[in-house]
Each structure stands twice: as structure tokens, then as C-alpha cells.
């Protein structure tokens, strides 16, 4: 099987390590805050999954939290980043086993992603401690990336379990559970001093809308389990998943879960860099603005930016050459950019509506296709 021994560019795994380190730092800080507010969990009612003898004393607990934080910080800066992330996430999982009252699905998912990322070759880029030399050359970045597939598996398993559990529950299928969640959300908003308009309250508390929303959520979660794995459906699945998590973040208290899923989605992005080309005419304002915009927002290194030679000018100030070689110009450019830039990804389908039905697509003779078809 090609997955077992595939070797890919590990650049994006470095980005994942760095971002997971940031999330783990925040999560650890939250637990320190809980310790300072509520006190040491072991001295009050707690429910360990490990034998009580293995539950750390308060001193050891404080020490472990400190080590978890240090490990997460190492993951951020990249100096022994993999080891740091491994230590931080392993300690986090162990402490979760010491008290199931502290269990939260989002915290567990973050720890697992951190654990898996430590086994990825995520020490080839975003080595912040090296300053400007933070990225190793391509030859040094090519490495076996099987653990990246495990992160993908973990994401799918999460959706399968969450969506499957709901699909088997009659109250979820009928929309009853979601209706009550909507009502609770509105009650909370009112308590917080907000005054949602009546039509909005009526809309959200309609059993029909709740039933539809339930079926859509279940279908989406189960659909993502499969759709994320296929090149043809991946980009649409990532967009739908991103919208889903934006909605969840806005409507429920899920701590870092939406941000975690955003980071985990990076595992589904094509690992190879700069397979798209942005051709800009820097003599025009549009060309200069687009160049600056893409330079600052191309966090996944999707684009190679080239300036149009004077003799090449004539096809517009900006042209995007897609991975497969297709050229996008004019009204097709914003959609082509938004599809590949994380900051614009959520509005990509809207921008795609403005693309002419038959865009000027000129197959190029160069440009290699790749596995994913997205990213």
C-alpha cells in the first residue's frame, strides 16, 4: 500500500506541530486556572480510571502540569518540538485518566492530535528558534508521513462516533435534542442581555427547523467520514466541515474544539507546496494588491508568485495557474485564490458563483497533478 511507505513534503506538519503546541499551551493554562480556582482535584471527589495509587499527589500534579506546559511550548518553538509535544500530550492523557470528571471530548481530541503529530516528521519547518532559517530545504523535508494518515483517521473516527451516536438516537433523529439546544441557546442569549429578533427566535424554535437541522448535522458528520478521503469531494467536505465548526463555536461552549478541527484539517491539505502559480502585472494596482495579499495570507504556501513579463501582459493584471495547469483570470481569480487561502476559504463558494460558466481555461503544458486535488 502506498500510504505505508509514502514520503511527502513535511512542511505543513511543522505548521501543525506549532499550532497544536499553541492550543496545548492554552489548554494547559486552563487547567492551571482550574487548579488555582478549584484546588487540587485529588483532595476532593474525583473518579480515576487508573488505580487510586497512580493518581499524583498535589505536588506531582503541579509538576506534571508545568512539564505539560513546557512540552507544549517546545512544540511551538520547534526546539525538540516533537519530543515536547509527545511529553505534553502524554502527560495530558495520563492526567485525564486520573479523573474522568475532567474529561472533555475536545480536550481528549487535542491530546490525541498532539500525540500523533509528535510521530510525524514535523521537525522540518516552523523551527521558530532558528529565526529566518526556520524551514529546512525541500530535500530534508521529504520524509515518511504515515502518522499524518493517522491524524486523518482520528478526525474521521471522531465524526463517525459523533454522527453515528446521534443517528442511533431517536431523539436526535427527530430533532427533539436539537430543538432543546436551540431553546437553551436563546435563553442564554437573553440572560446575557441580548435581544434576538422574534422572527429569529420563532425560526430557531420551530420543530421543523430543528428536525431539518438534526438530519443535516447527522448527514454532514457521517458524510465527512468518507468525503474527506476522496480528492473529488475533499474541498467541498473541508468547506462544509469548516462552516459546521464555525456554527458550533458560535452556538455552544466547546472550548478549543473548532480551532483544533481547523488545525487537524491541515492534515488533509496536499503536502506539496507552491503547485499553483499567481501571475501578476506589478505595474497595475490590482496586480500589486493581489501580490501583497497572497504573500501575507498564503499560510499553507500554495502559490508561487511570478511577475508577468512585459510581453506576457494582455490577459489581465492577475492570472492564477491551477495545479492541473488550468488558467483563471478576470472574475474567476477571487474564487481561485479563496479556494487555496485559509483566510478566504469560507467565502470561496460565494465567490465561485461569480465565475463565468465557461471560464477561459487554457490547459498548460506544465504543472503536475497531485494526490489530493485540494489545498
Amino acid at each position: 500500500m502506498k500510504w505505508l511507505d509514502e514520503e511527502r513534503d513535511a512542511y505543513l506538519l511543522g505548521l501543525m506541530r506549532c499550532l497544536l503546541g499553541v492550543l496545548l499551551c492554552i489548554q494547559t493554562w486552563d487547567r492551571v486556572d482550574e487548579l488555582l480556582t478549584w484546588g487540587y482535584f485529588g483532595s476532593v471527589f474525583h473518579l480515576p480510571l487508573v488505580p487510586e495509587a497512580l493518581v499524583p499527589s498535589e505536588l506531582v500534579y503541579r509538576l506534571l502540569l508545568g512539564l505539560e506546559g513546557v512540552g507544549a511550548l517546545l512544540g511551538v518553538v520547534g526546539w525538540y518540538g516533537r519530543e515536547g509535544l509527545f511529553a505534553g500530550s502524554s502527560i495530558g492523557i495520563y492526567l485525564m485518566l486520573c479523573d474522568r470528571l475532567q474529561f472533555h471530548n475536545n480536550r481528549f481530541a487535542l491530546l490525541l492530535c498532539g500525540f500523533l503529530c509528535a510521530f510525524c516528521p514535523s521537525d522540518r519547518s516552523f523551527l521558530l528558534y532558528r529565526g529566518k532559517r526556520r524551514t529546512l530545504p525541500l530535500a530534508a523535508r521529504i520524509a515518511p508521513t504515515l502518522p499524518r494518515r493517522l491524524i486523518q483517521f482520528q478526525v474521521s473516527l471522531l465524526y463517525l462516533s459523533s454522527g453515528g451516536g446521534k443517528a442511533l438516537d431517536p431523539d436526535w433523529r427527530s430533532g427533539q435534542t436539537m430543538l432543546l439546544r436551540f431553546q437553551a441557546g436563546i435563553d442564554e442569549a437573553v440572560q446575557a442581555g441580548m435581544r434576538p429578533p422574534h422572527w429569529f427566535v420563532d425560526f430557531l424554535t420551530s420543530p421543523f427547523v430543528a428536525s431539518l437541522g438534526s438530519k443535516a448535522a447527522i448527514s454532514l458528520e457521517l458524510g465527512l467520514v468518507v468525503a474527506l478521503w476522496f480528492a473529488r469531494t475533499r474541498v467541498a467536505a473541508l468547506w462544509a466541515g469548516a462552516m459546521f465548526h464555525v456554527f458550533i463555536q458560535a452556538s455552544a461552549r466547546v472550548e478549543l474544539f473548532s480551532f483544533l478541527m481547523g488545525v487537524a484539517y491541515v492534515a488533509f491539505v496536499t503536502p506539496e507546496l507552491r503547485e499553483r502559480t499567481l501571475l501578476v502585472d506589478v505595474r497595475t494596482r490590482a496586480g500589486r494588491v493581489t501580490k501583497a495579499l497572497v504573500r501575507s495570507l498564503d499560510w499553507l504556501a500554495r502559490f508561487r508568485i511570478e511577475e508577468l513579463a512585459p510581453e506576457g501582459v494582455g490577459g489581465g493584471a492577475v492570472t492564477v495557474v491551477e495545479r492541473g495547469g488550468a488558467r483563471r483570470s478576470g472574475r474567476a481569480v477571487p474564487a481561485a485564490l479563496a479556494r487555496a487561502l485559509p483566510a478566504g476559504f469560507l467565502v470561496w463558494p460565494v465567490l465561485a458563483l461569480f465565475v463565468p460558466r465557461r471560464p477561459a481555461v487554457v490547459p498548460a503544458t506544465t504543472g503536475a497533478g497531485s494526490e489530493a486535488g485540494h489545498g
Binding site: 505505508l4 471527589f45 530535500a139 494518515r149
Partner: protein, 167 residues
């Protein structure tokens, strides 16, 4: 922007860099363990480690009572605290002294049963045991009873009674 190093430094080999066989073994082990963890979560009352997000919109309202030596009647615990005495020395006990969990710590008010009713009732039973076992000997209180009004997903209102007696 990627800023590649001009020189090609040798990559430090991390001990987490697995060889080809170990990599496959690790992947197989991870997949197997995770499947076991998720499947077995269905048999745990609170579904921990099961990724069952937003599984219920149920509520519970916990009322606590004391079982005391001097009477057969249950004595209600008001505001989560009660005064008891041993050898004439009074002591104030608070439920939240021992139970910090935000769901189980809320008494006499409807609370969202996070992770489901079954899970919270399971945890409440253990919390009662823990509280009674923690109380020093010699006090009048010999046990705790929780009367819990439950509403599963807004339907089927029922009352569940849990108790713990000092052994």
C-alpha cells in the same frame, strides 16, 4: 512564506522517528486501540473517551437529604449545607466542600445533564458514597439521599432516588 535555510543542515533524528516496520506496527496498534476505546465507551455510563458530542439535552434537579440517627424521616439539606455535631462540637458541612463538579455541585435548580442523564446519575451515586465516606465518625448523619428530578430530552419526567449509607 517559507524561508528555506540556504545551507542544508543534517536533520536531527528524533527518537520518535520510527523505522518502516515500527511505523506500520504503530499505526496498526493506534487504530486498534482507538477503535476499542470508542466502541467500549458505549458501555460506559458517561461515554467518556467516546466522542459523543452533545449527546443529550436532558436536565436534572438534585435535592439532597440526610439520614440521621435520631429520626426515621429524611432531613432536607438546604443550600447544600448542614450543621452536624459530634460530642457536642458542631461542624458545618457543605456539599461543594467535596464535590466541585459544576453539574453535580448544583443543587435545587434544574441543570443541563452534560454527557447525558445516565452518566450524571452514575457520577452522583459515586459522589454520595464519597461524601459519606469522607465524613468523620461520630456525627448524627449516617447517610445521604439524593432525590433527582430528571427530564430526558425534554420528555419523560421522572424521579430517581439514590442513597448512600455509612458502612
Amino acid at each position: 512564506m517559507t524561508k528555506e535555510s540556504a545551507t542544508a543542515p543534517s536533520v536531527r533524528r528524533s527518537w520518535l522517528e520510527l523505522g518502516p516496520r515500527a511505523r506500520v506496527a504503530f499505526a496498526a496498534l493506534y487504530v486498534g486501540v482507538m477503535l476499542c476505546v470508542v466502541v467500549s465507551a458505549q458501555f460506559r455510563p458517561d461515554r467518556v473517551f467516546g466522542f459523543q458530542m452533545f449527546n443529550e439535552s436532558s436536565t436534572m434537579n438534585i435535592h439532597l437529604f440526610r439520614r440521621v440517627r435520631s429520626t426515621k424521616r429524611l432531613v432536607p439539606i438546604v443550600n447544600g449545607e448542614f450543621l452536624d455535631a459530634t460530642h457536642g462540637a458542631p461542624r458545618l458541612f457543605r456539599w461543594t466542600e467535596r464535590v466541585h463538579d459544576p453539574t453535580l455541585g448544583k443543587l435545587d435548580q434544574p441543570t443541563h445533564a452534560k454527557y447525558g442523564l445516565e452518566g450524571q446519575l452514575f457520577r452522583l451515586g459515586l459522589a454520595l458514597d464519597d461524601f459519606v465516606a469522607w465524613m468523620p465518625n461520630g456525627f448524627d448523619t449516617v447517610g445521604l439521599v439524593a432525590v433527582v428530578e430528571t427530564l430526558k430530552n425534554g420528555r419523560n419526567p421522572s424521579v430517581v432516588r439514590l442513597q448512600s449509607v455509612r458502612r
